[in-house]
């Protein structure tokens, strides 16, 4: 206990040096935590856009649906399923926030002399907004009304077709009974997600209307998309869903549902890879910051140890062994670390909180960016997480102690008599 008091007092004896050194460490902490928080913000944004715009974090399909996305491969075969019951079942799985059914088809949209190929998505208008954001990115008009023959189309598609909200288009798609499904739909709204593929060829219609067009019974859907509040839990939740569906005969036929349940990393591997890259680079950033800090602090400590030779000599002469001297120096380092950490937290926390609530908009500097197939908006936000501050604090304390080690050794080796004699 005495050693701590001595260490603390030693620190304050050289107030200016202590404060400057502590500042260096605090700045390191600030920098490391902020950079990690920013990277986390980008990761969250990437993940959110990669999965939150359209796909959801977990998806269910009939086993044969990928990769051809065949019209006929509806979940559990031609007979269809009790969609409501399936959705209820999914919502009961812990970790699931919302689920929505979808129907997919490839077809044509035609207006005037323009005909364009389109990806038609039939969605439940009340459930879909709980799972994806595509209908939230409308720049004109409104979402289609349930049951009506209305469509929300991408902005690029609208441009190619030369239509605006309110216009009529003819929708043509091969139906499940072999005929050519066709009908006149009204463009209720135009969306802009910022992703070329969606804006250029996707059209969203109410589930029932599209099923009629495609001669699909109401129980036939191709996909169920699931939203999880915590995207990182996707693999575990996917497994839980698969387990829940395979037991206690869920299908109309009485057996378990033969579906594939995939987390987002399966159907969006690029985003997963990029996130791994970001995590790896986080470690690198913190490492570099504290490498610098170590150097700076060690520098100062070493000089300090040298300047304090006489002091150590006196202490040794008073009977403290070399280990004791070394311990003092190390404790000083640790105390410095704690002090710096306190200062660092005091400075970092308010900035982090302010930034989190008011993300920095860099729109003036850059535009939107498409990364690994997802959109990154120029709004820099920071994410609250524990691992940033923990990494920062650990780095800081380790740095402070490591930086004190060599000086501690040097201090212990000061020959008392010689030092006192001035040599």
């Amino acid at each position: 206990m005495v050693w701590w008091r001595i260490a603390w007092r030693n620190l304050w004896r050289n107030r200016r040096r202590t404060l400057i050194t502590a500042s260096a460490l605090a700045v390191g902490f600030f920098g490391a935590v902020l950079m990690v928080a920013l990277d986390d913000g980008i990761s969250a944004e990437l993940l959110d856009n990669g999965t939150g715009v359209l796909t959801g974090q977990v998806q269910l399909h009939a086993r044969g649906w990928m990769p051809e996305r065949s019209l006929y491969a509806t979940i559990d075969g031609d007979a269809g399923i009790d969609v409501g019951a399936l959705l209820a079942r999914l919502r009961a799985v812990p970790g699931v926030a919302a689920a929505a059914p979808r129907v997919w088809a490839g077809g044509l949209l035609s207006a005037g002399h323009q005909t364009e190929g389109a990806v038609l998505m039939g969605a439940d208008m009340s459930l879909e907004p709980g799972v994806s954001r595509i209908l939230g990115t409308l720049v004109a008009g409104r979402a289609p009304r349930a049951g009506a023959r209305e469509l929300a189309i991408g902005s690029e598609l609208a441009r190619k077709l030369r239509v605006a909200a309110g216009a009529e288009v003819v929708v043509v798609a091969p139906a499940a009974d072999g005929s050519t499904g066709n009908d006149v739909y009204r463009v209720s709204g135009v969306f802009r997600t910022g992703l070329d593929q969606l804006d250029g060829s996707y059209a969203v219609a109410p589930l029932g209307a599209l099923q009629s067009l495609l001669a699909l019974a109401p129980g036939r859907v191709h996909e169920v998309a699931v939203r999880l509040p915590d995207p990182w839990a996707a693999p575990a939740v996917a497994r839980a869903i698969a387990a829940a569906l395979t037991d206690a005969g869920h299908a109309a036929a009485g057996g378990p549902l033969d579906v594939t349940v995939e987390p987002w990393a399966s159907f969006n591997p690029e985003v997963a890879e990029y996130l791994q890259l970001i995590t790896a680079s986080n470690g690198l950033v913190v490492g570099i910051v504290f490498l610098f800090a170590i150097f700076g602090v060690a520098n100062t400590s070493l000089m300090g140890a040298y300047e304090r030779r006489r002091e150590f000599a006196v202490v040794r002469a008073l009977g403290v062994g070399p280990a004791g001297v070394a311990r003092t120096v190390v404790y000083e380092g640790l105390a410095l670390g704690v002090l710096a950490l306190a200062a660092g937290i005091a400075v970092t926390a308010p900035v982090l909180v302010a930034w989190h609530h008011t993300p920095l908009n860099l729109g003036w500097l850059i535009g939107n960016l498409e990364l690994a197939g997802a959109l990154v908006r120029p709004v820099l936000r920071v994410q609250y997480s524990l691992h940033g501050p923990v990494m920062g604090a650990t780095g800081l304390l380790v740095t402070a102690v490591l930086a004190a080690l060599y000086p501690a050794v040097r201090a212990a080796r000061v020959p008392p008599a010689d030092a006192l004699a001035g040599r």
Partner: protein, 437 residues
């Protein structure tokens, strides 16, 4: 007393010309630095390490950005794309460049101030159509390319999965993505027919045999792109000598705006020159974001280094009270004391910073000039803003970055020396002389 007073009143510099004064300060500073070798060395090392890392980071970062841009433009339309003005909007064969226009463009690209910047020029004739085999039919984009030029230009030419890329004397050959080959059930050597609307409006088929397949990792590319020799495409579509775009690859992406401007001025009307920043603003943004976040990171590091140096210089000041006391007793004014300390700090940091920059440059060049291999973090190439990025980052050495490092050195050195210098001006001579230290 008189002597001391006289010296005091006069001061070391007051009756001497400025140039000599500076010289005296420098001399003093230098000697002080040398006398406290250990201390100086420790201070210097912080600066050296800092600048070395700074230089390394800038080189790798610039290299990475260049790689992103190059990766993107090599799959796309180059650093500068020459097209008919309406083509980007319509994508139609009707908006194409005729043979005389291509000749004019080639001539401009050969002019002496542009030619050294140009690495490769690839003409392309692109249409949308259908690819069919005995098994199935798939809508695709068909690109007629010059095999020799394209091989130098397009990264996909190197991503061969089976077979080979197009050869200069190929006629009925096609180079397709693996996913397309799978859907059409095509193996190397199999026949496929591409169908599209010719310039005259006819819908015509063209035979092509698969000579190679590629994998980019980008699904829309692997499923929807067919490369054929441009001669074959021109013949098929009835547009002899024409192209829908001429893609120009430069040695450095930074030359793109300049080259585009030069081309715009010299090319006849009817040919638009687009630099990649305009053609792909998302990529330009990505590079900018990364640059700025890099600078932010370096600011943090710079502050840490500066603080370390402040401490070091400050300590050297505080332990030399007696020395300064004596000097001031001999006539050095307070302000001059401060100046000496400032000069010491600046001299030390500048020298060590310059050294650090040189070491950083040298080490980066020595160890990583062929590239820093990050493939432990990334499996294969990653798609980024529509490009394919290789995990090997080759650093780029730019004079601008060296200047930046040296400027940082000066700023850090000056900032870090300022406070200790100010402290030095506050030394109480009498108090300083009292003690034995």
């Amino acid at each position: 007393m008189t002597g001391a007073g006289e010296a005091r009143a006069g001061g070391v510099g007051s009756r001497r010309p400025a140039g000599v004064r500076v010289g005296v300060f420098l001399g003093l500073a230098f000697r002080n630095v040398r006398r406290n070798a250990r201390r100086s060395l420790l201070t210097a090392s912080a600066m050296t390490l800092g600048l070395a890392v700074l230089m390394w980071t800038r080189a790798i970062s610039d290299g990475a950005h260049e790689a992103w841009v190059t990766g993107a433009v090599r799959i796309g339309t180059g650093h500068v794309a020459l097209e008919a003005p309406g083509f980007r909007e319509s994508g139609s064969l009707a908006d194409r460049l005729a043979a005389p226009q291509l000749d004019a463009a080639a001539a401009v690209l050969r002019s002496p101030d542009v030619a050294p910047l140009v690495r490769a020029v690839a003409p392309r004739l692109a249409v949308g159509g259908l690819a069919s085999s005995a098994a199935a039919a798939v809508p695709v984009r068909i690109e007629g390319v010059d095999p020799a030029a394209e091989a130098a230009f397009n990264t996909l030419a190197g991503h061969v999965v089976a077979g080979r890329f197009l050869a200069p004397d190929d006629r009925l050959a096609a180079y397709v993505g693996v996913d397309l080959a799978r859907r059409l059930q095509l193996r190397i050597g199999d026949r496929m027919v591409v169908t599209a609307q010719t310039a005259g409006g006819e819908i015509t088929g063209q035979l092509a045999r698969v000579v190679g397949t590629f994998k980019s990792g980008l699904p829309e590319v692997d499923q929807g792109l067919v490369y054929v020799p441009i001669a074959t495409a021109r013949n098929w579509l009835g547009v002899p000598g024409a192209a829908t775009a001429v893609a120009v690859l430069l040695y450095s992406s930074r030359d793109a705006s300049r080259v585009a401007r030069a081309l715009r001025v010299r090319l006849p009307a009817g040919i638009a020159a687009l630099s990649w920043e305009r053609a792909d603003p998302a990529l330009a943004s990505a590079v900018r974001i990364d640059d700025w976040s890099g600078y932010a990171f370096l600011l943090i590091l710079g502050i840490i280094v500066a603080l370390a140096i402040v401490n070091a210089v400050l300590m050297s000041v505080l332990t030399r009270n007696r020395e300064f006391g004596v000097l001031q007793a001999l006539g050095l004014t307070r302000r001059e004391t401060g100046t000496v300390v400032f000069t010491e700090g600046l001299m030390l940091t500048t020298a060590s910073g310059a050294l650090g920059t040189a070491i950083g440059y040298g080490v980066t060049w020595l160890l990583w000039r062929h590239g820093l291999d990050l493939s432990v973090f990334m499996k294969g190439d990653i798609s980024f803003a529509g490009a394919l990025v290789s995990p090997v980052m080759v650093p780029e050495f730019r004079a601008v970055q060296v200047l930046l490092c040296l400027a940082a050195t000066l700023v850090i050195g000056a900032a870090a020396s300022f406070y200790p210098a100010r402290q030095a001006t506050r030394i109480d001579v009498a108090e300083a002389m009292k003690f034995d230290r």
